[in-house]
Amino acid sequence: MTTQPLLSVRDLSVEFLTRQGSVNAVDRVSFELHAGETLALVGESGSGKSACALALMGLTTLPGRVAGGSVVFDGQDLLTLPERALEDIRGRRIAMVFQDPMSALNPLLTIGTQIDEVLERHTALDAAARRARIIGLLEQVGIPKPAERLGRLPHEFSGGQRQRILIAMALACDPQILIADEPTTALDVTIQAQILELLAELKARLKLAVLLVTHDLGVVAQVADRVAVMYAGRLVEVGDADALFEQPAHPYTAGLLRATPRLSDNQPRMTAIDGVPPDPRVRRSYCDFAPRCPGADAACAARPPLQSLSPGRLAACVRPFAPVWKELA
């Protein structure tokens, strides 16, 4: 990839202040997001993937705080930008969609009013032009008869429709980047499939760059061009989706893929990754995944850095591609 990235994240760290001292939720995470690509940031709960996405947008709130790094968008570091300037970028050029559409919408305002607020704030359109734009946006995300439904309240829509409305709102100002944090996790599987199709279609049509934060490798496989895997606050693997699914380099990625149940699979036992993620309050010098890794040995006593394996492929493991997981009988 030789093109200039749209968004460049360097050594981003987020810490949470607790009574026992500070805890690193995100530890020196670096990645780039290019125009027109979908990058999936994958991890389980506590991996720091959401903290990372919030930090990019300057939305880290206490007890969390950004402890270091830079997020360069359009030549400026978002982390050092004054709140005023950041607000202008957020919503207009970088938009966000969250997991729970009900809590992201104001229950007391009609959906027309809520989308209008975004347009009023970020555009110079007059009321009639804004109304036409709102109807067009709702049509684009698949809300039937939008003109008749502008005056409805959020609770009058289903969960899937509310997520569509939020996506319409995010797209209101033609953003270049869409950050979607678990956008389909709260939805049923048939609705999830519809929303994923919508996101893929919008990405292609509007040449959006999408940062998709998710725990679900099945979802990643449907929509991602590139994948970044997080474990215990750090990136452990980055690569093109096809290559990474074909042959994961990090044992955690491989273990996660192996533990993801398949419909066609009627093995008598499900394959788990034994153990639990490490306690974030404990500082370690060894590889974070070593306690759960069947391939771990003395070489894992020093935490391996994220290093390049081939163009576009990175992994933090002393023995990338090692077949540490037993093949299933």
Partner: protein, 331 residues
Amino acid sequence: MTAPLLQVEDLRVHYPVRSAGWFSRPMTARAVDGVSLELARGETLGLVGESGSGKTTLGRAVLRRTPLTSGSIRFQGKDISTAGTAQLRELRRHMQLVFQDPTTSLNPRHTVFDAIAEPLIVHGWSAGRRALEARVAQLITQVGLPADTAKRYPHAFSGGQRQRVGIARALAIQPELIVADEPVSALDVSVRAQIINLFQDLQQELGLSFLLIAHDLAVVRHISHRIAIMYAGQIVETGRRDDVYDRPLHPYTRGLLAAVPEPERHRDGRRTFPVALGEPPSPMSPPSGCRYHPRCPLAVERCRQEAPPLMAMAGEHKVACWFPGAAPISS
């Protein structure tokens, strides 16, 4: 096969719902609307449906935790649909519930010992404190938790470990039936498999029957012997696991299976059946005829008029569709 442990016949659970406005006509939500099912000893029935399908209400109704509108439930051959308070108390010895969210189902001020001992005490433990401690310790080991767990509080545990505590609590009084409502959907993928394997081990060891309520089709396949697919308050397809998964006949089942995102199915057009369109109906006003017809790629006039009954196909496979297994009308 001997008499089933659980036998549900034509069960209905309807709720009155107040719509907005003080003087508006009260409406009825038909959460469960004519469901029949059976569960044998030592068997797992996977009850699959999306939100609003009535699967959770059905699970609660089986345990008599929600009032029934009509129909019957027989447990060990006895009709329990009209059981009174005293009978219900006795019944709860035999049937237990495992919840989705292990965080909210445990009291944060109670130690793990208290949480597991509570059902034993409620059901009249009389063998003394030392035996109680021994029994709790045994349960803790059985669900794969470290022995020092008893003295600790729920917040000290991860989600998977808390779910193990919830399972130990449900097992304490040696029930025959466990209704598990989305027991792993709040857990991370790497931990989910551990809990599913635990369910299977416990079933083998103790001969338990499970009614597993879930929306995750891949997980359900792993653990179930038989499957029931629920849509808008009714069972639309049921049968042995491999029959339902490998030869699904109802267009809803087929659309549901097609919608599951899997790591191997890279963004391609290899779907053999279209994903279900639109959204499920409101339980207050289910569509006429077949309740799936507004979303169905096979629907014709007959489907709008006449509701198909659950019809027997090969073996135990049953389906409620006028055109089971038909190819979708090309658009």
